[in-house]
């Protein structure tokens, strides 16, 4: 198990690493209640790749996303974004990093209710006092297919539309990496498919790097690579996954956990 994790953490020659972790640990609680949400994770995510992170509930997927997206600080170990060591940064720099280099899509409640869809999409840029590049803006809007909804507020949009707006926001600042924690978890299959193909397209057409947490083998099948977590450790990975191969792997892992 250990040797696998190490090989997985190594950068491959043909792709550059967008983000990686080194012996990443995250502990919650103390004494009896101590939980090793992450128990020494070494993993790299490559530029221009769409990666899925899967694993049983409580296996540490969200914790990993949060630590990598500079939303939370690890107990031990390091997180690199490109060449930047996050542990060396202060809150202000982390904030700027989130604003400029990282995109994030949550499972729900992704949008500021007082702002329109367009304003929400531009939010990270306008916080930084920048205007979006008009051609890129058009490209993103066309990709997410929201042109006729730009003036609407979140409560006037369906769940799928809201998540597409959130994706558009994550893409708008051309971040080095986008983290999405179960972006389709609350959506029906049609809306989910809309969001997933949108993410897929932004990887294919614009070389975006995306890491997505999901429980759904169908969603995982949209990605280039699936990483499996169990009990805070990376336990396996699949390249070019299909629904079937993912299901098979999941079954294997469950069986191993039972044993």
């Amino acid at each position: 198990m250990t040797h696998r994790a190490e090989t997985l953490g190594l950068p491959r020659s043909d792709r550059r690493v967008a983000a990686r972790t080194v012996a990443l640990r995250k502990l919650y609680g103390q004494g009896e209640a101590e939980v090793h949400a992450l128990d020494g994770v070494d993993i790299a995510f490559y530029e221009g790749e769409f990666t899925a992170v899967m694993g049983a509930s409580g296996s540490g997927k969200s914790t990993l996303m949060h630590c990598m997206a500079a939303l939370d600080s690890p107990t031990d170990g390091r997180v690199f974004l490109g060449d930047t060591d996050l542990s060396s940064l202060k809150d202000k720099q982390l904030t700027e990093l989130r604003r400029d280099k990282i995109g994030f899509v949550f499972q729900s409640f992704n949008l500021v209710p007082t702002l329109t869809a367009k304003e929400n999409i531009e939010l990270p840029l306008s916080i930084a006092g920048r205007r979006p590049d008009p051609t890129w803006f058009d490209t993103v809007i066309d990709t997410v297919n929201l042109r006729d909804r730009l003036g609407h507020r979140p409560n006037e949009l369906s769940g799928g539309q809201q998540q597409r707006v959130a994706c558009a926001r994550a893409l708008m600042s051309r971040p080095e990496i986008v983290f999405a924690d179960e972006p389709t978890g609350n959506l029906d299959s049609t809306s989910g498919a809309e969001v997933l193909s949108l993410l897929r397209r932004s990887v294919d057409e614009h070389g975006q790097t995306i890491v997505m947490v999901t429980h759904d083998p169908v969603a995982a099948a949209y990605t280039d690579r699936v990483v499996f977590l169990a009990d805070g450790l990376v336990v396996d990975e699949l390249r070019n996954p299909t629904r079937e191969s993912v299901l098979e792997e999941m079954g294997e892992l469950t069986a191993r956990a039972m044993a």
Partner: protein, 848 residues
């Protein structure tokens, strides 16, 4: 259900504490007013009963509660007649001189502006309390014209010891005296409330201030064993000459107490008006807190309903919370009110009212009123939110976005308009009412109704202003500004309620500013018209001074004329009027009051020149005879002239100095109009007059401009006291902003987490909260200032014929208010903003 209520109280203790604080402050104001006026009442009751003998004899009318300084006396023969009475154990004749000031070692008048200063004959009279009115604690009795005793408190304040030479400012001739302090006395009841008292040998006082005549201001009688006050009074009345009356001590005390209670009642009402304002503002804070708490808990309340709690139970649960807050707040408020009363004592101490030995006690009535008001207001304020809470449908528990059922804006508009119109009607009606108190109450209630009406409508009225601010924000602060502006409009009612609290406070502050500025401007104008002489000599504390000063100034080189001007209240046909007295020739020479009909020179004894207003009011014309009632009795006068319309005489009726003396008024000058000769150098004349006045710390020579400034200072002083009293309401309003913001921050925790996650820095977040706060504060301030100006204009118009005939709107000051409000907004946001910035991003996002 009770458990839920208690848990909630504990869980929301900070927010509830803030709203309880509004109750605490309001109740503190109410109880403080009562405690303070009670203390004042007991102090003055002590003074009254401690200085009144079994029977008091005085010239008719001089024994009344509000009698003016009186120069009339009782012949010495009366004393001998009284001493023949078996019923009288002691007969103590005495003289009294008012406006006898003691100058302290620091050269300043002891006591300053407020309390009276007396000189009295040293006697051993026993008061009703059984104690001597004064008891020697050091030194000896004064003998001869060069010695005095004084009360301990005055000696302490003036830093005088027995044996010191003390300077006095007298109302007689000479205007200053240097005497030796030979004894110190204590007042039987402890404190004189800041009044200064000097005691003299009986003959010495008569020699100095009563032309050496052996005549008395009054006589105190002590009853013999077994003789009642009534018996003694009746016996004394037998031997008294006409024009001299005897009254029993009990009767006088009762009379004085009545007058005292009336004054204290006014003071109490005055303070309670401000307490009410604070309470109304506090009500907004409580309504808002409860509304927000209910909104935030709506999911939980819906769940309670879903699992079987009845509407009544939900309603009662919220109201129970209010009850607990009301009880806790009232209790704390009562305690703080006691402290506040001490603060008021210090405040009144600055104007010379010494209550250092007064007893501050909490009467049962104070406790009762405090709890009634505190609990009542909380319950009433919580009623609407509680009712709304009970209307939350159980199904809301299953929904994600719970929208509370709210009264529509239209309904608010309608109710607001009704209140507004009713308020305007009440105000207009109040102006027409003759009875002062009823009229004022109507005007006050009308204003309150208008304010509440406007606050109900303010979500609509305030829209353009908020839009304007929002646009400015967007341009200046970009996205952060836009977010702030939009946040302030998410709950227009909440914003409006918070802003309204400030609006009410500021409306009253602005109203007072407008009235103050108008009063200043009117005074300025009136004085410019009234003081046509080069200089005016006046007493800083407003009390009259020795006519000897006029004599001395007349002898100064380069003085053309000095007109003595005296003032006194009197009655003509039952209505109170102000009478002035002067020498017609001097007045004509030293000032310029155009007489339209008749002539100034006709002003002989028994003649009067009246203002056109007085002529119209009393239907008097030249040649008419009428009766003027002085405390000593009626005087018949003939109208010999009517002033021109633009003559600003500082009195409605002008009579001669002889008439005043005939009316028994003490020969004391209120002003001197001083005119120099054309050739004389103003500075030189001034220096010479100042030389005369240098030993008289209270009397000054000023040019009209300086005099006006001094008068305006008094207006400002009064204004500042009112600002201080309104300050409490403003503080509560600011607390309201803090509270609302803090609650909003809690409510938007998730959103704040999201904003932070997508890259909003802590600084930007803090700014966002701050900007929102400023919008609320500025909205309240602008509405408040506008309302205040409107009220100010209305009131000024209404009282234009009572002297405030110039409308002045101090825009600069009002703008400062708005600026300060913006600053307050920034300050109010400090804690909520810090709290928002401190939120942990992840935890914020994952909160429900």
């Amino acid at each position: 259900m009770r458990k839920v209520t208690l848990r909630n109280l504990v869980a929301h203790k900070v927010r509830l504490f803030l709203s309880a604080f509004a109750i605490v402050l309001g109740v503190a104001f109410v109880s403080g007013s009562f405690i303070f006026t009670d203390a004042m009442g007991s102090a003055f009751s002590g003074i009254i009963s401690g200085s009144t003998a079994d029977v008091e004899i005085a010239p008719e009318g001089a024994n009344e509660f509000d009698s003016a300084p009186d120069g009339r006396t009782i012949p010495d023969s009366v004393v001998a007649d009284l001493e023949q009475l078996d019923e009288a154990a002691e007969v103590d004749p005495w003289n009294q001189v008012q406006a006898m000031y003691v100058v302290g070692e620091d050269g300043k008048v002891v006591g300053g502006n407020g309390p009276p200063s007396f000189a009295f004959t040293d006697t051993d009279t026993r008061a009703l309390t059984g104690r001597k009115i004064t008891t020697y604690v050091a030194g000896d009795r004064p003998t001869g014209t060069g010695e005095i005793a004084m009360d301990v408190a005055t000696a302490e304040k003036g830093d005088h010891q027995v044996g010191d030479t003390v300077q006095l400012v007298t109302p007689g001739d000479p205007p200053t005296l240097e005497v030796e302090l030979v004894g110190l006395v204590e007042f039987g009841e402890g404190s004189l409330g800041g009044a200064t008292l000097t005691l003299w040998d009986g003959q010495a006082l008569q020699e100095l201030f009563f032309d050496g005549e052996r005549a008395w201001s009054g006589i105190s009688l002590t009853a013999a064993e077994g003789v009642s006050q009534q018996q003694l009074r009746d016996a004394a009345a037998e031997v008294l000459p006409e024009g001299v009356t005897a009254r029993t001590g009990d009767d006088m005390v009762e009379d004085n107490e009545e007058g005292l209670q009336k004054i204290l009642g006014f003071l109490n009402t005055f303070l309670l008006v401000f307490a009410t304002v604070a309470m109304v503002v506090g009500t907004y804070l409580i309504i808002n807190t409860f509304s927000i708490l209910v909104a935030q808990r709506s999911r939980e309340l819906a769940l309670l309903r879903a699992i079987g709690a009845s509407r009544r139970q939900v309603n009662r649960s919220v109201l129970t919370e209010a009850l607990v807050i009301g009880i806790v707040g009232s209790t704390l408020g009562l305690g703080i009110g006691f402290l506040l009363a001490q603060g008021l004592r210090a405040l009144f101490g600055t104007i010379g009212l010494d209550l250092s030995t007064a007893e501050f006690s909490i009467e049962p009535r104070t406790v009762l009123v405090s709890y009634l008001v505190g609990i009542g207001v909380t319950m009433v304020a919580a009623y609407l939110p509680a009712r709304r809470a009970s209307r939350i449908p159980p199904v809301a528990a299953m929904r994600d976005d719970v929208a509370l059922p709210e009264a529509s804006l239209r309904r608010r508009l309608i109710i607001g308009t009704v209140l507004l119109v009713a308020g305007i009607g009440l105000m207009i009606a109040g102006f027409q009412v003759e009875n002062g108190t009823t009229g004022l109450t109507m005007i006050g209630v009308g204003m309150l109704s208008i304010l509440v009406g406007v606050s109900l409508m303010s979500p609509v009225i305030g829209r353009p202003l908020v839009a304007l601010l929002g646009a400015t924000y967007r341009r200046t602060f970009g996205t952060v500004g836009q977010l702030a502006a939009q946040n302030s409009q998410r709950n227009p009612r909440r914003t409006a309620a918070t802003a309204s609290a400030l609006m009410i406070g500021l409306a009253l502050v602005s109203l007072m500013s407008v009235l103050g500025a108008s009063a200043s401007a009117s005074t300025d104008k009136a004085l410019k018209a009234a003081i046509t002489s080069q200089f005016i000599v006046s007493n800083v504390v407003g009390s009259p001074f020795s006519p000897n000063i006029a004599e001395q100034i007349r002898d100064v080189d380069g003085i053309e004329a000095v007109a003595q001007f005296r003032q006194a209240p009197a009655e003509v046909k039952r209505s109170r009027v102000f009478v002035g007295a002067s020498d017609p020739d001097d007045l004509a020479a030293a000032s310029d009051f155009p007489v339209a009909v008749g002539s100034m020179t006709d002003l002989a004894e028994g003649a009067a020149i009246i203002t056109p207003e007085a002529a119209e009011e009393q239907d008097l014309a030249i040649g008419d005879e009428f009766q003027m009632n002085f405390p000593s009795g009626p005087v018949d006068l003939t109208v010999v002239g009517v002033f021109g319309v633009n003559a600003s005489v500082p009195a409605n009726y002008l009579v001669s100095l002889d008439t005043f003396e005939q009316a028994g008024l003490a020969p004391l000058d209120s002003f001197l109009f001083v005119e120099k000769t054309e050739a004389a150098d103003a500075d030189a004349v001034r220096a010479d007059v100042d030389e005369i006045l240098k030993d008289l710390p209270t009397v000054t020579l000023q040019d009209p401009g300086e005099f006006a400034e001094q008068q305006k200072e008094q207006i400002d002083f009064f204004l500042n006291i009112i600002y201080a009293l309104l300050g409490l309401a403003v503080i509560i309003a600011i607390l309201g902003i803090v509270n609302t913001l803090a609650l909003s921050v809690i409510e938007r925790t998730r959103e704040i987490g999201l904003l932070r996650a997508v890259g909003l820095s802590r600084r930007q977040l803090r700014r966002m909260v701050r900007l929102e706060s400023v919008i609320v504060a500025v909205l309240g301030a602008v509405l408040g200032v506008l309302m205040g100006v409107a009220f100010g204009i209305a009131l000024q118009r209404a009282i234009a014929d009572e002297g405030i005939d110039v409308l002045a709107i101090p825009w600069d000051r009002l703008l400062v208010f708005v600026g300060l409000a913006a600053l307050v907004g920034v300050l109010a946001a400090v804690l909520p903003a810090r709290r928002a910035a401190r939120l942990d991003v992840l935890r914020a996002i994952s909160t429900e």
